[in-house]
Symmetry: C5
Subunit: 93 residues, 5 copies
């Protein structure tokens, strides 16, 4: 799975019926952008786990769902604290 | 899914029967070109969502369809306006 | 699907029975080489459409065929003429 | 399969039910980070074999499990000794 | 499929039961290393065809086998002779 950051929702009014009305999010994977089906309910800025390959279909709701990238979880804390600025400067709760 | 821009239709008269007569489009994904089955009816210049992996098959019409990249939606507005030139210069409708 | 150019046939006498006697072609995808099962009958120099992912299996003949890249069509004209040298120099028929 | 090194566990409290309570690990694949389902029980620093594609699902426990990367084995010795510093400096057991 | 060169066997004593006792090989794909299930019996230095995606599973022996890269054939002659040193210097048989 990939670690991505949610950028913004994506609207595509003209789409195939199989996509139903599930929410799509533009996610950033390093320097690249991709579109993922949102299966958890996330907001811009969230760091999320995106699953690809055939697993993205069932993760999006059913074996027939046409997704190759689905957001399956929101990471509790990312980047990890040891890679961040000192704790005293960040006001960790 | 990937965000691609449609370049032009692609004609391949000599192809396997399984591909039927569905339309193929050359799409641009960043600096790379790829070929996608058009499941929505788009025209050159459209910004589209392309689904890959095994999901591309059903998105193209059936589980047996030999596609690994299928256009499943046309994006309403891309790139997003905050990333574009000022509104006054673009004559947004 | 990818746009590739056929380089040459590939011979692998020692291979698993599941590959049967189908022809394999070395294809060029930009600067990279790959091996594809030839489902249309092409010759070196042809510009072809190659399908990957799980769709490559059925495109090669059956759901059990061990292919992850199958040539499914020969492109009628590539690169497109507007990207080529002036018509007068090419003797277009 | 890929050769990766385990970095640290990843916690995502808000995730889809299908992911159950299996452990997730952040793994390093060269310069890139990815998230893998841990099917063997490994610790940070371990060099592991990660399987992707549709095989990651069953490797994670069931055909329905939403994984596209699963740790399926811990490599006994990596990097191989001939690529390492002289034995006398490493105290090989 | 990819053209890879076999580097060395890989040992992973602690692995999931589904991997059984099949041999694993470290293969080189250009500058990258990967791990492949050996379905043909090859030795270091062999140039081989590796199949990925879902086709790697059946190529490794069964639809349930957790492989995403399987060696399915040994290439008879690689690189091709026209890309090599002059014949007189190579003692071609």
């Amino acid at each position: 799975m990939k670690i991505c950051q949610v950028e913004r929702p994506l609207v595509a009014t003209n789409r195939i019926p199989g996509m139903e009305h599930k929410h799509l999010q533009v996610v950033r994977d390093g320097s690249a952008l991709a579109v993922a089906v949102d299966a958890v309910g996330c907001i811009p800025g969230d760091w999320v786990i995106c699953v690809g390959s055939s697993a993205a279909r069932e993760a999006a709701g059913s074996k027939e769902y046409p997704s190759d990238l689905t957001i399956v979880g929101i990471i509790d804390r990312w980047p990890p604290e040891e890679d961040q600025a000192p704790e005293s400067e960040r006001g960790r709760g």
